[in-house]
Symmetry: C2
């Protein structure tokens, strides 16, 4: 079963509802909450996300607090992707039977403190005990201070940008990242963002999702992709190009966004918490091209987190 | 580790936030969502709830659709407890590695259709695959058409009421119940409900929670507790009194509420989807008394879902 196939089937079978301007398929859903009939209502942004022991973290290595922090930050990264302020989180925890009260308390503190960084209260939860591994599921509700930034609004000619540096987060960054909520809100208030999402499954898998939602393509310059030192470290260990790691490793939790060329030119003058790289241009033709300075065209690598074992094409 | 101890610790350590009139401890949390600073905002009701394979359902016996339906209905029962209309649900699913696309699709349909009964759209989700059992986590967001009905407002002299009949749901009803959303909203619009919650862990465990939140006690007449035929069936199998099953079995998903005596007297004239039983009276003294027609006082049974093995006191 491929995750993308299931997600496409679910999106096609979720149905439509007059109170849901944005359903399944973006980083968060948007639901209009009406306190009373006829009332204008408030658009609430909603997300649920799970973190599983030995999939997203490993209790044999990571503390309960670190696991809780990551579970919350994964969910809050989707708030960043919409340029949304989280208003509250809920946390559901399935505890292994041998867990003690101390583990549960440390887990809770990790969750609570990660959200508190963004003045976001933990308002509810659910606990159960079972004879399987730890599951932490986090739901976030937020409001967009302006309009939420969706995946579907990239325009031909837009510059394609990413924050920070990519690849190799498995070395440790995947447990310690700070969701780019402040940066996303700052960007949304200062430039006209067209499309945005967060990079959770790797640029190789996530950029095609943004392009598909927007109905366009992109030409990406491989030499402008910001490669993290951790990707270089992994490359020296496994012999795969560092660029491959930057494209295909998951869990960067950086922002991927598009905006007009003139707006992109202004980015350098903003004081942001991480550098922004312009890595290419949105094209009208719905194809994705990876090119280097010699204008040699390479295939876009298939892969990212979905496959477990990932293939590279055109990167030898 | 006792669930109540953990919940009490979490409630004490969750902190307060100016946008959260009601945090951890009731059936749902209330968060004020402000579209813009100074805006009055809309109070959003929030809940997260999980259903675990071989804890809350059993895939060896139950279909994926039935598991999904129960997971959603458990969460929606908390909406009923607040007399709230669900506006949207989110569903997170950790699939066992051997699950196929068909299982995932049936699960989704079960979730979607359970929510659709209440015109509630499924707007988002998360899927992952792991080598452990199925986890379904559901988050619900709702709005109260009037004020939400909390646990903390029972008044001395109130009548204590339950909907439907109690006990023995494990025989099958726990998979097939319909959350009492329509009844709760009907009651809230027609009488002045003081305190309300849903019965998920059994009257023996849930009534003390309502009393503790309200700072009062109750005198319950054992002969007025509505005993389900399923409790009689279990009683004939295990020799425990049917009343014990009605008190201590979990997963009734009925409403427990209090209101003034005069309002309680009106209940008989309402056309409701299930009968209401008046089972006792709220007292000022914070003790819980179970009495029969001879006015013999019995101890309130300890137990309910928390303990696994449950004790009876005073019911021989």
């Amino acid at each position: 079963m491929r995750e993308n196939d299931l997600l496409a089937w679910i999106a096609a079978n979720a149905g439509r509802h007059p109170s849901v301007p944005l359903g399944i398929g973006d980083d968060m859903a948007v639901v209009n909450l009406h306190a009373a009939p006829g009332n204008d209502g408030v658009p609430a942004l909603l997300k649920i996300d799970q973190a599983l022991d030995q999939v997203h973290f490993d209790l044999r290595t990571h503390s309960p607090a670190a696991a809780g922090r990551k579970a919350v930050n994964r969910c809050l990264s989707d708030c960043a992707a919409m340029a949304c302020s989280p208003a509250a989180i809920l946390v559901s925890v399935a505890l292994p039977r041998n867990a003690d009260l101390k583990l549960a308390q440390e887990l809770f503190i990790g969750c609570r403190d990660a959200a508190a960084v963004f003045d976001c209260p933990l308002v509810g939860g659910d606990t159960a005990v079972w004879d399987q591994r730890l599951v932490i599921t986090v739901a976030a509700i937020g409001v967009a201070s302006g309009r939420p930034i969706l995946r579907n609004a990239a325009q031909p000619g837009d510059s394609v940008c990413v924050s920070g540096k990519l690849g190799g987060s498995i070395i440790g960054r995947h447990m310690n990242f700070i969701p780019r909520i402040n940066m996303a809100r700052q960007l949304a208030s200062m430039v006209d963002l067209h499309a945005m999402m967060d990079l959770s499954d790797g640029l190789a898998m996530d950029l095609p999702r943004l392009l598909k939602a927007s109905g366009c393509g992109a030409a990406i310059n491989s030499e402008t992709i910001p490669i993290h030192d951790d990707a270089e470290t992994l490359s020296s260990r496994d012999g795969k190009p560092a660029l491959w790691h930057a494209l295909c490793d998951g869990e960067d939790y950086e922002l991927l966004f598009t905006l007009s060329g003139p707006d992109a030119a202004q980015l350098g003058s903003l004081s942001l918490e991480a550098p922004i790289s312009v890595i290419g241009t949105i094209t009208k033709e719905p194809q994705l091209i990876l090119q280097d300075a010699a204008r040699a065209k390479n295939s876009w690598p298939k892969g990212g987190w979905e496959h477990g074992s990932m293939e590279v094409q055109g990167h030898e």
